[in-house]
Symmetry: C2
Subunit: 519 residues, 2 copies
């Protein structure tokens, strides 16, 4: 199993069918593979030896996908850079795994000079934008035109394919080392877990490709030779236009993006009937949003995936039938679903003893999709992978039907006056107020109750609401002890680059200097 | 990736849900895994060391599945014995790979004495029937009751899991060596290629489990924790009763079995509405049979798979949408479909040069599902795997849309008077005669035409037809040069243990001493 395999298949089986599209760039499998095999030659000319890391800092594009496959084709390892990071963080990640070649697009070319100063590893900057090649860089297309195709490097399943940096909220980012076989089998098992037909299929990638989610969605499509339509950066209208014009059949978004898409004023203008599967991840979906989304996309199956970079990334999936209206739905929607076929998941206590069903502990996972380790961090690697299981750091429990509940993440429980309050339930209640665009409910320290239910709310443009109105509304919906005791309004909520709500950023100022019990 | 992984998942996620059923034996995942871990201990007590082969000669049963997983759990390698073979052939296969332990059921226990005489390897015979333990054997259930569970052996993806004997029509049978990862990923990729939901899913295994097809179907189900309902031996009523009573959702049969099932006099008695996917293999399906089957199973998706033991076994799949009525159907039904995601397929000439689309050559395949080699046959292994590709020995071509056509197998072309006649087309025409149960059309030598179209026909019980009627019927359906010039009637057609029509047996007497050009 190796990641260039789809290109060999593609040029043989679907030479003249579309492989990747972005804007007015459309490449069939023959052309795409030809360009990849030339770009691999370019990278080798620029000094990429077997196993060397190559970075890219760019919005999504067809060249981003070429970079993935060309690095692998030439025997290298990708290190796609988080585009939300500042130059110091980027330089750290380049130096940490000795990345000497970096590709930059028009947006990030201006950062190159600063990166050269900060980084000790960086040697060559390749400009993959569309304008004239900036001073001190080499040009992507010119090099490509000037280089002959090279043969695909021989591959092994356990060969390193990617170093993907993650974290950084506590300490330095860590480079997650993923093997060819891990990324490959995860994509395949994800397809098996969320069944979909390849007939007339087309996928859209709207998540950032530097993130394992965007990369994984592209792999899930290309390994089935399903064309990938790329949106440079998430944007409601770009997504809607691509869905319609390319007759997209499968899409992955995070719930906040789904909300933005279906609530966009121009939504009704588009014919979106082609969409068969809408999967979401990074957060559970609340019932009100799901209902609205199911009305907006009638006939589309909804499914959730849960995972993390260290797991290549998917580890559980909540199948579409769990989203159907019914008495069990509210409970199931809080779940991250059941482990995909290649993944074993168990819940352990602090001594790595397995806990019985229903008891909260740390979620650990085992299987061929687990990372090889953190680059150059043997102690962290050993801690994370102790006993052969990836320790996710997420708290959760598994029910007697094998459904995983991630407590810290979506059910982040608030213990207020001895009662358990689940944020998702409160957020679901608040979401029913027509003025509310989105909300995050957290526990904050309270002298009387231990923790207090606190709501952070973003209102729709032009709408108004008072804390008292929010509290009164909630009292009609849910038990008194679950209602927010304090409410604040903000213009936006803190989201990660992958669109994941970062509640820890909301909690931080409240908990500074205090210890919060989790799980 | 290793094959005992589903049991670890199953006892964690679905402890009290059904894993395997046969007759009145029904085991949940907890019980099944417990028995497997005890049986692994039994096999170790009986001398099975790491990598040792263990044989089983039995009809399908829950114990057959226990044998698979217990051998793997204990670190051994399965060698399931072809139950159609005579004692000499069985002894050859046991000795060839030094199989010292053999499990036999009630049907094959009587052969054990003779096997002991013929085989130099065989040491221990385990009786896994339901009567008293015969002289000279040890009893399965008694040993199981007396043995504590052992821990699962540590596994690697490239660890040998099975030696499966194949061939024998030319020379000695060859032991195909398949790794854990190869069987695992093939099952997973087969599921991804033929999408199916796990919700309320149940599979039936009616193909013999000693064959990689029956074994593979069981793996496809169990790795998704979908229960497997086992039929001891193919039988129309047993299949129909199981389909109805277990609300079976997925089934694999060969086309001749589909025909026998849907034409059984009691067919209409059964409620078969649960069946979602009916896959078939070993032979293409003719349009008349498909139409009848689609009427018999309305709402069921049909799909074809093509493969061989050396490929673990699936390599291409013809998706269900290709079976829908339409102008392209007749052509598509002759195809074996497109390569599954993990498989690269190409067509090569005698010097292993790839041939362009449409040209007939040898079908070769590459990917993680390819065998490790033939046991103890380095020369044959090197020949079969030269250049890293499995040489199937099948002739075929690939069209410009990536569909594979296996010429020797189903399109076995007859060259008569310079015209190409495809057997499938003639067989389709003959199948429309109400008197005909099944037919095989072959080319036989003819002084005038080079080859002559010859039909071998099995009539339905109580029905009659003359060669002249068959020829007259065909003339109404197809061009004159395609019509059979000679017709014979037989009681049965030669089928392999897997139900595959063995045309070579029909051709042999005609071609003895003559050379036939193929492809």
């Amino acid at each position: 199993m190796f990641l260039t395999q789809p290109l060999h298949k593609g040029r043989r089986e679907k030479a003249h069918e579309t492989a990747v599209v972005c804007g007015d760039r459309r490449l069939d499998f023959a052309t795409f593979t030809e360009r990849v095999s030339r770009l691999a030659g370019v990278l080798q000319k620029l000094g990429m030896a077997r196993g060397d890391r190559v970075g890219m800092m760019s919005l999504n594009s067809t060249r981003f996908v070429e970079y993935f496959f060309a690095t692998w084709w030439g025997g290298g390892v990708i290190n796609p850079v988080n585009i939300r990071w500042n130059p110091k963080e980027v330089a750290y990640s380049l130096d940490d795994c000795d990345t000497r070649i970096l590709l930059v697009d028009d947006l990030f070319a201006p950062m190159a000079a600063q990166l050269r100063e900060l980084s000790t590893s960086l040697r060559t900057v390749v400009y993959c934008g569309d304008g004239p090649v900036p001073e001190g860089m080499v040009g992507y297309e010119a090099l490509l035109a000037d280089t002959a195709p090279v043969p695909d490097a021989p591959h092994r399943s356990d060969e390193l394919a990617a170093v993907m940096y993650t974290g950084g909220t506590t300490g330095r980012p860590k480079g997650v080392m993923l093997a060819h076989g891990s990324l490959y089998i995860n994509a395949l098992a994800s397809v098996a877990a969320l069944p979909r037909d390849t007939q007339d299929a087309a996928a859209i990638v709207a998540a950032p490709m530097f993130h394992v989610a965007g990369c994984g969605v592209a792999l899930q499509s290309l390994l089935r030779l399903v064309p990938v339509h790329i949106v440079p950066m998430f944007d409601e209208v770009a997504v809607l236009e691509t869905l319609q014009s390319a007759r997209i059949t499968e899409m992955f978004l995070v719930p906040t993006m789904i909300k933005r898409v279906i609530e966009h004023p121009r939504f009704a203008e588009f014919d979106l009937g082609s969409l068969r599967l809408l999967s979401y991840g990074a957060a559970p979906i609340d019932a009100a949003l799901l209902d609205a989304a199911m009305r907006a996309f009638p006939g589309t199956a909804f499914a959730q995936v849960y995972g993390m970079t260290e797991l290549s990334p998917v580890v559980t999936a909540l199948a579409s039938h769990c989203h159907a209206p019914g008495p069990r739905r509210e409970k199931l929607l809080r779940s991250a679903g059941t482990p995909i076929s290649i993944a074993e998941v168990r819940i352990v206590d602090g001594n790595d003893n397995e806990l019985p069903h229903g008891q909260v502990g740390e979620i650990v996972a085992r299987g061929p999709m687990v990372m090889q380790g953190y680059w150059n961090k043997p102690a962290e690697t050993e801690a994370a992978l102790r006993g052969g299981w990836m320790h996710t750091g997420d708290g959760g429990y598994m029910d007697e039907n094998g459904f995983l509940y991630v407590v810290d993440r979506m059910k982040d429980m608030i213990v207020s006056g001895g009662e358990n309050v689940y944020s998702a339930e409160v957020e679901n209640a608040i979401a029913q107020m027509p003025q509310v665009l989105m909300s995050a409910v957290i526990g904050v320290p309270d002298d009387k109750w231990g923790e207090r239910v606190h709501a952070v709310i973003v209102l729709r443009p032009g709408m108004q609401a008072s804390p008292e109105e929010v509290m009164a509304h909630c009292k009609e919906q849910i038990a008194n002890y679950k209602c927010p005791r304090s409410v604040e309004f903000r213009d936006a909520l803190p989201l990660s680059a992958a669109g994941k709500l970062q509640k820890f950023q909301l909690r931080e100022p409240f908990w500074a200097g205090k210890e919060r019990r989790v799980g």
